[in-house]
Protein backbone atom coordinates (compact mmCIF):
# COMPACT_ATOMS: atom_id res chain seq x y z
CA UNK A 1 0.00 0.00 0.00
CA UNK A 2 2.77 2.40 0.94
CA UNK A 3 4.54 1.61 -2.31
CA UNK A 4 1.35 2.36 -4.19
CA UNK A 5 1.12 5.77 -2.53
CA UNK A 6 4.79 6.47 -3.18
CA UNK A 7 4.39 5.60 -6.86
CA UNK A 8 1.34 7.86 -7.14
CA UNK A 9 3.21 10.62 -5.41
CA UNK A 10 6.12 10.24 -7.79
CA UNK A 11 3.82 10.32 -10.77
CA UNK A 12 1.99 13.46 -9.65
CA UNK A 13 5.26 15.06 -8.63
CA UNK A 14 6.77 14.47 -12.06
CA UNK A 15 3.61 15.63 -13.82
CA UNK A 16 3.45 18.80 -11.75
CA UNK A 17 7.10 19.59 -12.46
CA UNK A 18 6.59 19.29 -16.20
CA UNK A 19 3.33 21.25 -16.01
CA UNK A 20 5.37 24.00 -14.37
CA UNK A 21 7.82 23.86 -17.30
CA UNK A 22 5.07 24.26 -19.90
CA UNK A 23 3.18 26.91 -17.98
CA UNK A 24 5.84 29.07 -16.34
CA UNK A 25 6.20 31.56 -19.23
CA UNK A 26 2.51 32.39 -19.03
CA UNK A 27 2.34 32.35 -15.23
CA UNK A 28 5.23 34.80 -15.15
CA UNK A 29 3.65 36.96 -17.85
CA UNK A 30 0.37 37.01 -15.94
CA UNK A 31 2.07 37.94 -12.69
CA UNK A 32 4.14 40.68 -14.33
CA UNK A 33 1.09 42.02 -16.14
CA UNK A 34 -0.84 42.20 -12.90
CA UNK A 35 1.97 43.87 -10.93
CA UNK A 36 1.30 47.59 -10.67
CA UNK A 37 4.78 47.94 -9.22
CA UNK A 38 7.24 46.52 -11.79
CA UNK A 39 10.31 46.83 -9.54
CA UNK A 40 10.35 43.11 -8.66
CA UNK A 41 9.69 41.50 -12.05
CA UNK A 42 13.28 40.29 -12.39
CA UNK A 43 13.48 39.00 -8.81
CA UNK A 44 12.82 35.28 -8.83
CA UNK A 45 10.77 33.59 -7.61
CA UNK A 46 9.08 36.68 -6.15
CA UNK A 47 8.09 37.76 -9.65
CA UNK A 48 5.61 34.87 -9.86
CA UNK A 49 3.42 36.66 -7.32
CA UNK A 50 1.88 39.97 -8.45
CA UNK A 51 3.47 42.93 -6.69
CA UNK A 52 0.76 45.46 -5.75
CA UNK A 53 -1.87 43.74 -7.94
CA UNK A 54 -3.82 45.88 -10.36
CA UNK A 55 -5.10 45.89 -13.92
CA UNK A 56 -3.41 49.12 -14.96
CA UNK A 57 -1.11 47.55 -17.55
CA UNK A 58 -4.00 45.74 -19.19
CA UNK A 59 -5.96 48.97 -19.47
CA UNK A 60 -2.93 50.66 -21.00
CA UNK A 61 -2.68 47.90 -23.61
CA UNK A 62 -6.30 48.49 -24.60
CA UNK A 63 -5.67 52.21 -24.75
CA UNK A 64 -2.38 52.15 -26.65
CA UNK A 65 -2.59 49.10 -28.91
CA UNK A 66 -5.32 48.47 -31.53
CA UNK A 67 -5.89 45.12 -29.84
CA UNK A 68 -9.49 44.62 -30.94
CA UNK A 69 -8.57 45.52 -34.52
CA UNK A 70 -6.03 42.68 -34.45
CA UNK A 71 -8.58 40.33 -32.88
CA UNK A 72 -11.13 41.26 -35.54
CA UNK A 73 -8.61 40.69 -38.32
CA UNK A 74 -7.63 37.32 -36.86
CA UNK A 75 -11.30 36.33 -36.65
CA UNK A 76 -11.93 37.45 -40.22
CA UNK A 77 -8.88 35.67 -41.64
CA UNK A 78 -9.62 32.47 -39.70
CA UNK A 79 -13.30 32.50 -40.68
CA UNK A 80 -12.55 32.91 -44.39
CA UNK A 81 -9.88 30.22 -44.19
CA UNK A 82 -12.16 27.71 -42.44
CA UNK A 83 -15.04 28.37 -44.85
CA UNK A 84 -12.73 28.16 -47.86
CA UNK A 85 -10.96 25.00 -46.73
CA UNK A 86 -14.27 23.24 -46.07
CA UNK A 87 -15.77 24.42 -49.38
CA UNK A 88 -12.77 23.12 -51.32
CA UNK A 89 -11.80 19.95 -49.45
CA UNK A 90 -15.27 18.47 -48.84
CA UNK A 91 -16.19 17.96 -52.54
CA UNK A 92 -12.61 16.99 -53.34
CA UNK A 93 -12.40 14.42 -50.54
CA UNK A 94 -15.81 13.04 -51.45
CA UNK A 95 -14.89 12.61 -55.11
CA UNK A 96 -11.60 10.92 -54.20
CA UNK A 97 -13.40 8.55 -51.84
CA UNK A 98 -16.62 7.74 -53.70
CA UNK A 99 -16.25 8.60 -57.39
CA UNK A 100 -14.20 6.99 -60.08
CA UNK A 101 -12.44 9.16 -62.63
CA UNK A 102 -9.12 9.12 -64.45
CA UNK A 103 -6.35 10.87 -62.52
CA UNK A 104 -7.91 10.20 -59.13
CA UNK A 105 -5.03 8.19 -57.73
CA UNK A 106 -2.38 10.49 -59.17
CA UNK A 107 -3.97 13.60 -57.65
CA UNK A 108 -4.21 12.01 -54.23
CA UNK A 109 -0.65 10.69 -54.36
CA UNK A 110 0.75 14.13 -55.23
CA UNK A 111 -1.25 15.75 -52.44
CA UNK A 112 -0.02 13.20 -49.90
CA UNK A 113 3.56 13.73 -50.98
CA UNK A 114 3.38 17.51 -50.51
CA UNK A 115 2.19 16.96 -46.93
CA UNK A 116 5.74 15.99 -46.03
CA UNK A 117 7.46 18.76 -47.98
CA UNK A 118 8.26 22.07 -46.33
CA UNK A 119 5.48 24.52 -47.10
CA UNK A 120 7.82 27.38 -46.19
CA UNK A 121 9.74 27.07 -49.46
CA UNK A 122 6.53 28.09 -51.22
CA UNK A 123 6.67 31.53 -49.59
CA UNK A 124 8.83 33.17 -52.26
CA UNK A 125 7.01 31.78 -55.34
CA UNK A 126 3.63 32.44 -53.72
CA UNK A 127 4.62 36.01 -53.04
CA UNK A 128 5.47 36.39 -56.71
CA UNK A 129 2.11 34.83 -57.71
CA UNK A 130 0.11 36.93 -55.26
CA UNK A 131 1.76 40.14 -56.38
CA UNK A 132 1.13 39.28 -60.06
CA UNK A 133 -2.54 38.77 -59.13
CA UNK A 134 -2.49 42.19 -57.44
CA UNK A 135 -3.46 40.65 -54.10
CA UNK A 136 -0.60 41.88 -51.91
CA UNK A 137 -1.93 43.45 -48.69
CA UNK A 138 -5.42 41.95 -49.19
CA UNK A 139 -7.31 39.39 -47.10
CA UNK A 140 -7.86 37.24 -50.18
CA UNK A 141 -4.13 37.15 -50.81
CA UNK A 142 -3.55 36.25 -47.16
CA UNK A 143 -5.83 33.21 -47.21
CA UNK A 144 -5.67 31.92 -50.79
CA UNK A 145 -2.45 29.85 -50.48
CA UNK A 146 -3.82 28.06 -47.39
CA UNK A 147 -7.15 26.92 -48.83
CA UNK A 148 -6.24 23.76 -50.76
CA UNK A 149 -5.23 21.95 -47.59
CA UNK A 150 -3.76 18.54 -48.45
CA UNK A 151 -4.34 17.51 -44.86
CA UNK A 152 -8.01 18.50 -45.20
CA UNK A 153 -8.41 16.50 -48.41
CA UNK A 154 -6.76 13.51 -46.72
CA UNK A 155 -9.06 13.78 -43.70
CA UNK A 156 -12.21 14.22 -45.79
CA UNK A 157 -11.33 11.33 -48.11
CA UNK A 158 -10.74 9.04 -45.13
CA UNK A 159 -13.98 10.10 -43.57
CA UNK A 160 -16.15 9.79 -46.68
CA UNK A 161 -14.78 6.30 -47.26
CA UNK A 162 -16.60 5.27 -44.09
CA UNK A 163 -20.03 6.00 -45.56
CA UNK A 164 -21.57 2.59 -46.28
CA UNK A 165 -21.84 1.82 -49.96
CA UNK A 166 -25.50 0.78 -49.61
CA UNK A 167 -26.44 4.24 -48.36
CA UNK A 168 -24.80 5.92 -51.33
CA UNK A 169 -26.14 3.43 -53.85
CA UNK A 170 -29.66 3.70 -52.46
CA UNK A 171 -29.59 7.46 -52.91
CA UNK A 172 -28.20 7.09 -56.42
CA UNK A 173 -30.93 4.63 -57.37
CA UNK A 174 -33.47 7.16 -56.08
CA UNK A 175 -32.07 9.53 -58.69
CA UNK A 176 -30.25 11.98 -56.40
CA UNK A 177 -27.50 13.94 -58.16
CA UNK A 178 -23.99 13.47 -56.77
CA UNK A 179 -23.93 17.09 -55.56
CA UNK A 180 -27.18 16.61 -53.67
CA UNK A 181 -25.99 13.25 -52.39
CA UNK A 182 -22.83 14.86 -51.02
CA UNK A 183 -24.55 17.62 -49.08
CA UNK A 184 -27.75 15.80 -48.06
CA UNK A 185 -26.38 12.33 -47.28
CA UNK A 186 -22.59 12.20 -46.98
CA UNK A 187 -21.93 15.49 -45.14
CA UNK A 188 -24.54 14.93 -42.39
CA UNK A 189 -23.02 11.49 -41.76
CA UNK A 190 -19.53 12.98 -41.38
CA UNK A 191 -20.12 16.05 -39.23
CA UNK A 192 -17.63 14.98 -36.50
CA UNK A 193 -14.76 14.73 -38.99
CA UNK A 194 -15.76 18.00 -40.63
CA UNK A 195 -15.88 19.66 -37.22
CA UNK A 196 -12.42 18.32 -36.44
CA UNK A 197 -11.07 19.73 -39.69
CA UNK A 198 -12.75 23.07 -38.99
CA UNK A 199 -11.16 23.34 -35.54
CA UNK A 200 -7.67 22.31 -36.71
CA UNK A 201 -7.93 24.78 -39.58
CA UNK A 202 -9.12 27.50 -37.25
CA UNK A 203 -6.19 27.03 -34.85
CA UNK A 204 -3.66 26.86 -37.70
CA UNK A 205 -5.08 29.96 -39.38
CA UNK A 206 -5.28 31.88 -36.11
CA UNK A 207 -1.64 31.09 -35.28
CA UNK A 208 -0.25 31.61 -38.79
CA UNK A 209 2.54 34.13 -38.56
CA UNK A 210 4.87 33.89 -41.53
CA UNK A 211 2.57 34.34 -44.51
CA UNK A 212 0.52 37.25 -43.09
CA UNK A 213 3.80 38.89 -42.06
CA UNK A 214 4.97 38.66 -45.68
CA UNK A 215 1.76 39.60 -47.45
CA UNK A 216 0.47 42.53 -45.36
CA UNK A 217 2.10 45.89 -44.94
CA UNK A 218 -0.83 47.91 -43.59
CA UNK A 219 -0.79 47.75 -39.79
CA UNK A 220 -4.58 47.96 -39.43
CA UNK A 221 -5.00 44.76 -41.46
CA UNK A 222 -2.70 42.59 -39.36
CA UNK A 223 -3.87 39.60 -37.32
CA UNK A 224 -2.87 39.17 -33.67
CA UNK A 225 0.03 36.85 -34.46
CA UNK A 226 1.79 39.54 -36.51
CA UNK A 227 0.38 42.80 -35.13
CA UNK A 228 0.97 42.03 -31.46
CA UNK A 229 4.39 40.56 -32.22
CA UNK A 230 5.46 43.64 -34.18
CA UNK A 231 4.17 46.03 -31.51
CA UNK A 232 5.68 44.12 -28.61
CA UNK A 233 9.09 43.73 -30.20
CA UNK A 234 8.99 47.31 -31.44
CA UNK A 235 7.37 50.35 -29.81
CA UNK A 236 6.11 48.53 -26.68
CA UNK A 237 9.39 46.80 -25.85
CA UNK A 238 10.36 49.67 -23.52
CA UNK A 239 7.98 48.39 -20.82
CA UNK A 240 8.20 44.73 -19.89
CA UNK A 241 5.00 45.06 -17.85
CA UNK A 242 3.08 46.32 -20.86
CA UNK A 243 4.51 43.56 -23.05
CA UNK A 244 3.51 40.82 -20.63
CA UNK A 245 -0.01 42.20 -20.18
CA UNK A 246 -0.41 42.18 -23.97
CA UNK A 247 1.00 38.65 -24.22
CA UNK A 248 -1.56 37.41 -21.71
CA UNK A 249 -4.36 39.06 -23.68
CA UNK A 250 -3.08 37.55 -26.91
CA UNK A 251 -2.97 33.97 -25.59
CA UNK A 252 -6.36 34.05 -23.82
CA UNK A 253 -8.46 33.47 -26.98
CA UNK A 254 -6.30 30.48 -27.95
CA UNK A 255 -6.48 28.97 -24.47
CA UNK A 256 -10.27 29.39 -24.35
CA UNK A 257 -10.65 27.72 -27.75
CA UNK A 258 -8.26 24.93 -26.76
CA UNK A 259 -10.00 24.21 -23.45
CA UNK A 260 -13.34 24.01 -25.26
CA UNK A 261 -12.06 21.61 -27.92
CA UNK A 262 -9.13 19.82 -26.20
CA UNK A 263 -10.75 16.41 -26.74
CA UNK A 264 -10.12 16.72 -30.49
CA UNK A 265 -6.44 17.39 -29.92
CA UNK A 266 -5.80 14.92 -27.13
CA UNK A 267 -7.79 11.96 -28.51
CA UNK A 268 -7.24 12.45 -32.19
CA UNK A 269 -9.14 10.34 -34.70
CA UNK A 270 -6.89 11.90 -37.28
CA UNK A 271 -3.49 13.38 -36.74
CA UNK A 272 -3.27 17.14 -36.70
CA UNK A 273 -0.39 16.96 -39.18
CA UNK A 274 1.42 20.18 -39.74
CA UNK A 275 2.46 21.00 -43.28
Amino acid sequence: MNRQIASWGGRYGAMSLFALFTLFPFLWALSVGLSSDPSAIWHFPASFVPNAPGTGWFRRVFAEMPFFTYVGNSLLLSAITVAGVLALTIPCGYALAQLDFPGRRALFAVMLLTLTLPSEVAIVPNFVTISRLGLVDTYLGAVLPNLASAFGVFLMKQSFEQVPEEVIDAARVDGASEWRLLWRVAVPLNLPAIGTLAIFTLVTAWNDYLWPAVVFYTRSKLPISVGVFNDLTGPFAVSTSLVMAAVVMAVVPVIVLFVATQRLFLQPQALPLRG
Binding site: W8, P25, C92, R104, T116, V124, V251, A270
Partner: protein, 295 residues
Protein backbone atom coordinates in the same frame (compact mmCIF):
# COMPACT_ATOMS: atom_id res chain seq x y z
CA UNK B 1 -16.29 -0.26 -57.95
CA UNK B 2 -19.10 0.33 -60.40
CA UNK B 3 -20.67 3.73 -60.09
CA UNK B 4 -24.10 3.58 -61.71
CA UNK B 5 -24.80 6.64 -63.79
CA UNK B 6 -21.87 8.70 -62.50
CA UNK B 7 -19.73 10.26 -65.20
CA UNK B 8 -16.05 10.97 -64.90
CA UNK B 9 -16.85 14.63 -65.53
CA UNK B 10 -18.69 14.80 -62.20
CA UNK B 11 -15.58 13.65 -60.40
CA UNK B 12 -13.43 16.22 -62.13
CA UNK B 13 -15.88 19.01 -61.36
CA UNK B 14 -15.82 18.04 -57.68
CA UNK B 15 -12.04 18.13 -57.39
CA UNK B 16 -11.46 21.02 -59.81
CA UNK B 17 -11.62 24.01 -57.41
CA UNK B 18 -9.40 22.34 -54.81
CA UNK B 19 -7.02 20.97 -57.42
CA UNK B 20 -6.70 24.38 -59.07
CA UNK B 21 -5.75 26.17 -55.84
CA UNK B 22 -3.50 23.25 -54.91
CA UNK B 23 -1.65 23.36 -58.23
CA UNK B 24 -1.19 27.14 -58.16
CA UNK B 25 -0.14 27.57 -54.53
CA UNK B 26 1.44 24.24 -53.54
CA UNK B 27 2.67 22.43 -56.62
CA UNK B 28 3.67 25.37 -58.80
CA UNK B 29 5.92 26.90 -56.10
CA UNK B 30 8.04 23.74 -56.07
CA UNK B 31 8.41 23.82 -59.85
CA UNK B 32 8.96 27.57 -59.81
CA UNK B 33 11.79 27.17 -57.29
CA UNK B 34 13.34 24.60 -59.60
CA UNK B 35 13.18 27.09 -62.45
CA UNK B 36 14.30 30.11 -60.39
CA UNK B 37 17.32 28.13 -59.26
CA UNK B 38 18.86 28.57 -62.71
CA UNK B 39 17.86 32.20 -63.29
CA UNK B 40 18.98 35.69 -62.56
CA UNK B 41 15.76 37.29 -61.44
CA UNK B 42 15.45 41.07 -61.72
CA UNK B 43 12.54 42.09 -59.54
CA UNK B 44 11.97 45.62 -60.79
CA UNK B 45 12.07 44.68 -64.46
CA UNK B 46 10.43 41.29 -63.85
CA UNK B 47 13.06 39.98 -66.24
CA UNK B 48 14.92 36.70 -65.93
CA UNK B 49 18.02 35.31 -67.55
CA UNK B 50 19.34 31.76 -67.53
CA UNK B 51 22.60 31.68 -65.62
CA UNK B 52 23.46 27.96 -65.55
CA UNK B 53 24.70 27.05 -62.11
CA UNK B 54 25.75 30.54 -60.98
CA UNK B 55 23.22 30.52 -58.12
CA UNK B 56 24.61 27.27 -56.80
CA UNK B 57 28.12 28.69 -56.99
CA UNK B 58 26.88 31.70 -55.01
CA UNK B 59 25.53 29.31 -52.37
CA UNK B 60 28.72 27.28 -52.33
CA UNK B 61 30.81 30.40 -51.75
CA UNK B 62 28.48 31.81 -49.12
CA UNK B 63 29.67 31.33 -45.54
CA UNK B 64 26.14 32.13 -44.32
CA UNK B 65 24.75 29.30 -46.43
CA UNK B 66 27.23 26.83 -44.97
CA UNK B 67 26.40 28.07 -41.47
CA UNK B 68 22.67 27.70 -42.15
CA UNK B 69 23.08 24.13 -43.38
CA UNK B 70 25.20 23.27 -40.35
CA UNK B 71 22.59 24.78 -38.03
CA UNK B 72 19.75 22.87 -39.65
CA UNK B 73 21.74 19.67 -39.20
CA UNK B 74 22.57 20.59 -35.59
CA UNK B 75 18.85 20.96 -34.95
CA UNK B 76 18.63 17.20 -35.56
CA UNK B 77 20.11 16.87 -32.05
CA UNK B 78 16.66 17.78 -30.76
CA UNK B 79 15.06 14.73 -32.40
CA UNK B 80 16.13 12.09 -29.85
CA UNK B 81 15.59 14.50 -26.95
CA UNK B 82 12.08 15.46 -28.06
CA UNK B 83 11.18 11.83 -28.79
CA UNK B 84 12.49 10.53 -25.47
CA UNK B 85 10.70 13.35 -23.67
CA UNK B 86 7.46 12.78 -25.54
CA UNK B 87 7.51 9.03 -24.91
CA UNK B 88 8.31 9.60 -21.25
CA UNK B 89 5.44 12.07 -20.91
CA UNK B 90 3.06 9.69 -22.68
CA UNK B 91 3.95 6.89 -20.26
CA UNK B 92 3.53 9.34 -17.39
CA UNK B 93 0.00 10.42 -18.36
CA UNK B 94 -1.13 7.21 -20.06
CA UNK B 95 -3.00 5.84 -17.02
CA UNK B 96 -6.38 7.34 -16.24
CA UNK B 97 -5.61 8.95 -12.91
CA UNK B 98 -7.74 11.72 -11.40
CA UNK B 99 -6.92 15.04 -13.03
CA UNK B 100 -5.04 13.42 -15.89
CA UNK B 101 -6.87 15.45 -18.54
CA UNK B 102 -5.56 18.63 -16.95
CA UNK B 103 -1.97 17.42 -17.20
CA UNK B 104 -2.37 16.14 -20.76
CA UNK B 105 -3.93 19.44 -21.83
CA UNK B 106 -1.22 21.42 -20.04
CA UNK B 107 1.56 19.45 -21.74
CA UNK B 108 -0.11 19.98 -25.12
CA UNK B 109 -0.83 23.68 -24.59
CA UNK B 110 2.43 25.05 -26.09
CA UNK B 111 1.59 23.29 -29.36
CA UNK B 112 -1.56 25.36 -29.89
CA UNK B 113 -0.17 28.64 -28.54
CA UNK B 114 0.72 31.17 -31.25
CA UNK B 115 4.42 30.72 -31.97
CA UNK B 116 5.20 34.42 -32.29
CA UNK B 117 3.46 35.30 -29.02
CA UNK B 118 5.11 32.47 -27.06
CA UNK B 119 8.48 33.58 -28.42
CA UNK B 120 8.04 37.03 -26.90
CA UNK B 121 7.93 35.60 -23.38
CA UNK B 122 10.83 33.27 -24.11
CA UNK B 123 12.91 36.25 -25.24
CA UNK B 124 12.54 37.55 -21.70
CA UNK B 125 13.32 34.13 -20.24
CA UNK B 126 16.58 34.09 -22.22
CA UNK B 127 17.34 37.73 -21.39
CA UNK B 128 20.87 38.03 -19.97
CA UNK B 129 19.26 39.16 -16.72
CA UNK B 130 16.31 36.81 -17.18
CA UNK B 131 14.84 33.75 -15.61
CA UNK B 132 17.12 31.13 -17.13
CA UNK B 133 20.33 32.79 -16.03
CA UNK B 134 18.83 33.44 -12.63
CA UNK B 135 17.97 29.75 -12.26
CA UNK B 136 21.40 28.64 -13.47
CA UNK B 137 23.08 31.07 -11.10
CA UNK B 138 20.91 29.87 -8.23
CA UNK B 139 22.04 26.27 -8.71
CA UNK B 140 25.63 27.42 -9.00
CA UNK B 141 26.36 26.90 -12.70
CA UNK B 142 27.49 30.49 -13.14
CA UNK B 143 28.68 33.26 -10.89
CA UNK B 144 26.11 36.07 -10.71
CA UNK B 145 26.14 38.17 -13.92
CA UNK B 146 28.46 35.66 -15.63
CA UNK B 147 25.74 33.79 -17.55
CA UNK B 148 25.74 33.74 -21.35
CA UNK B 149 23.87 36.12 -23.61
CA UNK B 150 21.46 33.42 -24.71
CA UNK B 151 20.05 35.23 -27.72
CA UNK B 152 23.15 37.00 -29.01
CA UNK B 153 26.06 34.67 -28.39
CA UNK B 154 27.06 32.12 -31.00
CA UNK B 155 26.48 28.69 -29.48
CA UNK B 156 24.14 29.49 -26.62
CA UNK B 157 21.73 31.12 -29.09
CA UNK B 158 21.25 27.86 -31.00
CA UNK B 159 20.76 26.03 -27.70
CA UNK B 160 18.07 28.59 -26.86
CA UNK B 161 16.34 27.84 -30.16
CA UNK B 162 16.53 24.12 -29.39
CA UNK B 163 15.06 24.56 -25.92
CA UNK B 164 12.25 26.68 -27.35
CA UNK B 165 11.57 24.05 -30.03
CA UNK B 166 11.46 21.34 -27.35
CA UNK B 167 8.99 23.33 -25.25
CA UNK B 168 6.81 24.06 -28.27
CA UNK B 169 6.70 20.58 -29.84
CA UNK B 170 7.11 17.86 -27.24
CA UNK B 171 3.37 17.76 -26.46
CA UNK B 172 2.51 17.08 -30.09
CA UNK B 173 4.50 13.86 -30.16
CA UNK B 174 3.25 12.95 -26.68
CA UNK B 175 -0.28 12.75 -28.08
CA UNK B 176 0.87 10.52 -30.95
CA UNK B 177 2.51 8.17 -28.42
CA UNK B 178 -0.68 8.23 -26.34
CA UNK B 179 -2.64 7.09 -29.39
CA UNK B 180 -0.07 4.34 -29.90
CA UNK B 181 -0.17 3.27 -26.24
CA UNK B 182 -3.97 3.15 -26.27
CA UNK B 183 -3.79 0.74 -29.22
CA UNK B 184 -1.81 -1.86 -27.24
CA UNK B 185 -4.23 -4.70 -26.41
CA UNK B 186 -4.99 -4.82 -22.70
CA UNK B 187 -4.69 -8.62 -22.65
CA UNK B 188 -1.00 -8.39 -23.50
CA UNK B 189 -0.23 -6.24 -20.49
CA UNK B 190 -2.48 -8.30 -18.22
CA UNK B 191 -0.86 -11.54 -19.32
CA UNK B 192 2.57 -10.06 -18.58
CA UNK B 193 1.43 -8.98 -15.12
CA UNK B 194 0.21 -12.53 -14.44
CA UNK B 195 3.59 -13.82 -15.56
CA UNK B 196 5.14 -11.59 -12.94
CA UNK B 197 6.74 -9.04 -15.25
CA UNK B 198 7.59 -5.77 -13.56
CA UNK B 199 6.97 -2.33 -15.07
CA UNK B 200 10.42 -2.20 -16.65
CA UNK B 201 10.11 -5.65 -18.25
CA UNK B 202 6.63 -4.78 -19.49
CA UNK B 203 7.94 -1.59 -21.07
CA UNK B 204 10.87 -3.28 -22.79
CA UNK B 205 9.07 -6.42 -23.93
CA UNK B 206 5.57 -5.13 -24.67
CA UNK B 207 5.21 -1.36 -24.96
CA UNK B 208 8.41 -0.70 -26.87
CA UNK B 209 7.93 -3.35 -29.61
CA UNK B 210 4.25 -2.48 -29.97
CA UNK B 211 5.13 1.21 -30.25
CA UNK B 212 7.88 0.68 -32.82
CA UNK B 213 5.81 1.91 -35.81
CA UNK B 214 4.77 5.03 -33.88
CA UNK B 215 8.35 5.68 -32.83
CA UNK B 216 9.47 5.43 -36.46
CA UNK B 217 6.70 7.77 -37.63
CA UNK B 218 7.38 10.32 -34.90
CA UNK B 219 11.13 10.21 -35.49
CA UNK B 220 10.68 10.90 -39.19
CA UNK B 221 8.15 13.70 -38.59
CA UNK B 222 10.48 15.16 -36.01
CA UNK B 223 13.47 14.87 -38.34
CA UNK B 224 11.69 16.85 -41.05
CA UNK B 225 10.48 19.37 -38.46
CA UNK B 226 14.04 19.84 -37.16
CA UNK B 227 15.44 20.37 -40.65
CA UNK B 228 12.61 22.84 -41.30
CA UNK B 229 13.38 24.95 -38.22
CA UNK B 230 12.84 28.52 -39.31
CA UNK B 231 9.97 30.40 -37.73
CA UNK B 232 11.27 29.55 -34.25
CA UNK B 233 14.52 31.32 -35.16
CA UNK B 234 12.75 34.19 -36.85
CA UNK B 235 10.63 35.07 -33.82
CA UNK B 236 13.13 34.19 -31.10
CA UNK B 237 16.55 35.45 -32.19
CA UNK B 238 15.83 37.00 -35.57
CA UNK B 239 18.93 35.17 -36.76
CA UNK B 240 21.31 36.76 -34.27
CA UNK B 241 23.94 34.66 -32.51
CA UNK B 242 24.63 32.64 -35.68
CA UNK B 243 21.24 30.92 -35.60
CA UNK B 244 20.41 31.22 -39.31
CA UNK B 245 18.94 27.93 -40.55
CA UNK B 246 18.49 26.68 -44.10
CA UNK B 247 14.93 27.94 -44.53
CA UNK B 248 15.77 31.22 -42.84
CA UNK B 249 18.57 31.62 -45.36
CA UNK B 250 16.07 31.09 -48.22
CA UNK B 251 13.75 33.68 -46.71
CA UNK B 252 16.51 36.23 -46.11
CA UNK B 253 17.99 35.73 -49.54
CA UNK B 254 14.61 36.55 -51.10
CA UNK B 255 13.16 39.24 -48.88
CA UNK B 256 16.28 40.99 -47.59
CA UNK B 257 18.84 40.22 -50.29
CA UNK B 258 16.29 40.26 -53.13
CA UNK B 259 18.27 37.47 -54.76
CA UNK B 260 15.32 35.32 -55.81
CA UNK B 261 17.55 33.10 -57.93
CA UNK B 262 19.82 32.04 -55.08
CA UNK B 263 16.79 31.72 -52.82
CA UNK B 264 15.21 29.41 -55.38
CA UNK B 265 18.39 27.36 -55.64
CA UNK B 266 18.59 26.92 -51.86
CA UNK B 267 14.86 26.13 -51.72
CA UNK B 268 15.28 23.52 -54.45
CA UNK B 269 18.14 21.81 -52.62
CA UNK B 270 16.18 21.88 -49.39
CA UNK B 271 13.05 20.44 -51.01
CA UNK B 272 15.11 17.59 -52.45
CA UNK B 273 16.52 16.76 -49.01
CA UNK B 274 13.02 16.73 -47.51
CA UNK B 275 11.78 14.66 -50.43
CA UNK B 276 14.48 12.10 -49.70
CA UNK B 277 13.46 11.93 -46.03
CA UNK B 278 9.80 11.68 -47.08
CA UNK B 279 10.56 8.80 -49.44
CA UNK B 280 12.34 6.98 -46.63
CA UNK B 281 9.27 7.65 -44.55
CA UNK B 282 6.89 6.23 -47.17
CA UNK B 283 9.15 3.22 -47.64
CA UNK B 284 9.51 2.47 -43.97
CA UNK B 285 5.89 3.15 -43.11
CA UNK B 286 4.43 1.76 -46.32
CA UNK B 287 0.94 0.51 -45.77
CA UNK B 288 1.59 -0.21 -42.10
CA UNK B 289 0.75 3.26 -40.89
CA UNK B 290 -0.16 2.90 -37.22
CA UNK B 291 -2.82 5.55 -37.63
CA UNK B 292 -4.68 4.10 -40.57
CA UNK B 293 -8.20 3.62 -39.33
CA UNK B 294 -9.64 0.15 -39.60
CA UNK B 295 -12.13 0.33 -42.46
Amino acid sequence: MAKPGVRALTGWLFVAPCALVFVVFTLWPMLFNGWLAFQDYFIAERATAWNDFANFVTLYKSATFRLSVANSLLMLLTVPIIQAGALGLALLVHRKLPGITFFRATFYLPVVITLSIAAIVWRYVFHYDGMLNWALTAIGVFEPRQGPQWLEQSGPALVAVMLFAFWKNVGYYMVLYLVGLAAIPRELTEAAVLDGAGPRARFIHISLPMLAPVIVLCTLLSTIAALKTFQEVMVLTGGSGDTVTALYFVYNMAFSGFNFGAAGAAALLFTLVCLAVALVQLRVMGRHSPFRRAA
